[in-house]
Subunit: 365 residues, 2 copies
């Protein structure tokens, strides 16, 4: 057997996305794949060799800045939301220069903040959420002290797709002169394309950095995360010198860095345009409502009315359902507080996928 055949045999054991209702990633867009292939040999870690790819990244960052109400934002395309969150917090920590720094984040923040706490040696103070699963503002205020180097707000929580009260967080951050990092890894390419979008971005004076991943709702190829800063000061706070490269300084976490994510993200956003993205998001939201209706007929109630294309349904049997469905080669996920089964209605979760899933789920319950 030649090696490509062997590889194919491994690949065939993976599950198809048509049976995955748990992931914030999706099948990359056809144009993303083509763009990726054009840039497969590129390395943004050595910019002097790849001036064209560097230029393209600048255009993409400007495009994202435009979307996020800050045309002059600074940032780069990275390995994903975890690197983006690390860099957002690291930049804030380095700018603030406190001994024994802490950050104040919602309990609903992604688990990568546990890594960040360990990696960056910052204390993580987790704040309770209200009955809508939005961060409790009074508690945020109470937990801030003179050693707080960042406040974190979430625009599209991983578990429920909820949006924190970022307007109020921004005012607080401005008053207390503390950087405000927004984790919009998922929501950053959903919210701007919704009707009457919640203003989660740089339109708020207090927001200093935003995580936004094109390889989630941007349908780019993996890896394509994004970290955007309000201004260059934060990027500068990440720099180290780079002898023996074609650059002088490097602000990225990784060194060698593929240009494929830049190309694939650019291809999708440029060709679909903001109008095309609106259509994608509209369809995902419509399918989310369809899932809610189908689940209602089976007696399941959502934890909160879905804010975007993420929804969880209360059930004490969450783990059992997940495991039994996985045995049948369907992937959903669960949350623990409250016990619920969770769905992400990505572009690959079409009406047909939902119908097939509901038919299977009927057998399980």
């Amino acid at each position: 057997m030649d090696v490509l055949e062997e590889l194919r045999s491994f690949r065939e054991r993976d599950l198809p996305y048509s049976r995955v209702l748990s992931s914030m990633c999706t099948i990359p867009h056809e144009l993303a794949v083509k763009a990726h292939q054009l840039f497969i040999g590129t390395n943004l870690g050595d910019p002097g060799i790849f001036p064209g790819t560097v230029e393209l990244e600048k255009k993409l960052i400007a495009m994202l800045g435009d979307l996020l109400h800050n045309k002059s934002c600074a940032g780069y395309i990275c390995s994903g939301g975890t690197e983006a969150n690390i860099q957002g917090i690291r930049a804030a920590r380095n700018v603030m220069r406190k001994r024994e720094p802490n950050i104040v984040i919602p309990k609903t923040a992604h688990f990568s903040f546990e890594k960040i706490c360990d990696i960056l040696c910052v204390e993580v103070r987790r704040v309770s959420v209200d009955e809508d699963y939005k961060v409790d503002l009074a508690e945020v205020e109470r937990l801030i002290d003179e050693k707080t180097v960042a406040i974190v707000g979430i625009a599209g929580t991983t578990e429920l797709g909820q949006i924190d009260p970022i307007l109020e967080l921004s005012k607080l951050a401005e008053e207390r002169e503390i950087p405000l990092h927004i984790d919009a890894a998922f929501g950053g390419l959903v919210i701007p394309f919704m009707e009457d979008p919640y203003p989660f971005d740089f339109a708020n004076e207090g927001v200093t950095s935003i995580t936004l991943d094109p390889h989630k709702m941007g349908m780019a190829t993996i890896p394509a995360g994004g970290i955007l800063f309000k201004d260059e000061i934060f990027l500068k706070a990440l720099e180290v010198e780079t002898p023996y490269l074609t650059s002088k300084m490097q602000f990225t976490l990784t060194g060698t860095r593929p240009g494929t994510g830049v190309a694939s993200a650019y291809a999708v956003l440029k060709s679909l345009g903001f109008e095309g993205m609106r259509e994608i998001v509209r369809r995902c939201l419509r399918n989310t409502r369809m899932l809610v209706e189908e689940m209602a007929q089976l007696g399941f109630e959502p934890v909160i009315e879905p804010v975007m294309n993420v929804v969880a349904f209360k059930t004490d049997k969450a783990e059992e359902f997940k495991q039994e469905l996985y045995r049948r080669k369907w992937v959903i996920s669960t949350i623990r507080e409250p016990r619920a089964i969770r769905f992400v209605v990505m572009p690959h979760v079409t009406e047909e996928v939902i119908k097939n899933f509901i038919a299977e789920f009927r057998k399980v319950i």
Copy 2:
């Protein structure tokens, strides 16, 4: 202009590798590109969805472990050498649990250790090198104290391709019961394929982790770095819980993680085999000697006799040469101590490339 045409116009402004003599990356192997394409939609960050790709990664890690004299090593394929070095040091730091931890590393260590120092809040103690640019053992011993959580040795320094005295470092590490991390990002896929290879790996009892990047001499597609641990204890020291994924714990730095690097690295190593890799390395070393001879005829002397396919030549005009060559669309790099121009003779640096380069360089000097 459609978006793919636009992308092509950016890509064309990048320099071709046939004019790059400075990079530790290269044109990916043809099979690596094909393997990459098969796995373009995979995400190892959500292993339950991609059991086939997970299995393939295990096979690759075992293959690398076999090469590094430790079939039962633990590890994973990551974004590159920087992540691998971060994780090696982070694991050691977490296992050792010291207040105000420090690490003792050669002055010749890659600049990513500056990032690591900032990111992980460890003090970096840089040790002088001897006249051969190998770390000074007596100074390593002097700088170790009760707060030292790791010693670092380099197998293939970025500037000169030198190998530290890892046998002696290993004995010291064992005696003092301190983890020894080896940065073999480059050398890890060169040294094992040389005649009479220096024993830099897990054959030494004291070595606890090794960085080894398939996207350098392994001709895999970017991103394909590697971090390997002597045993699982170190990997466990990196774990955080992962609710709402198909796994329970995650030890990687990034969350979403492409399977493309696994597939492309596996394709190259499996199809070429260790014998095929020996042939690649033999050719690179032969071309390195050719470059040394050509440069000797132009009056340039190497800083040290090349140990592997990295070589630097002393000159006070290093920066001028580099800039003038870049103006002519040739990329070399420089080092600062001593002032020298530096070359990496990767598989794409063929006899013909060297001849073309020397013809151009004659005009410059």
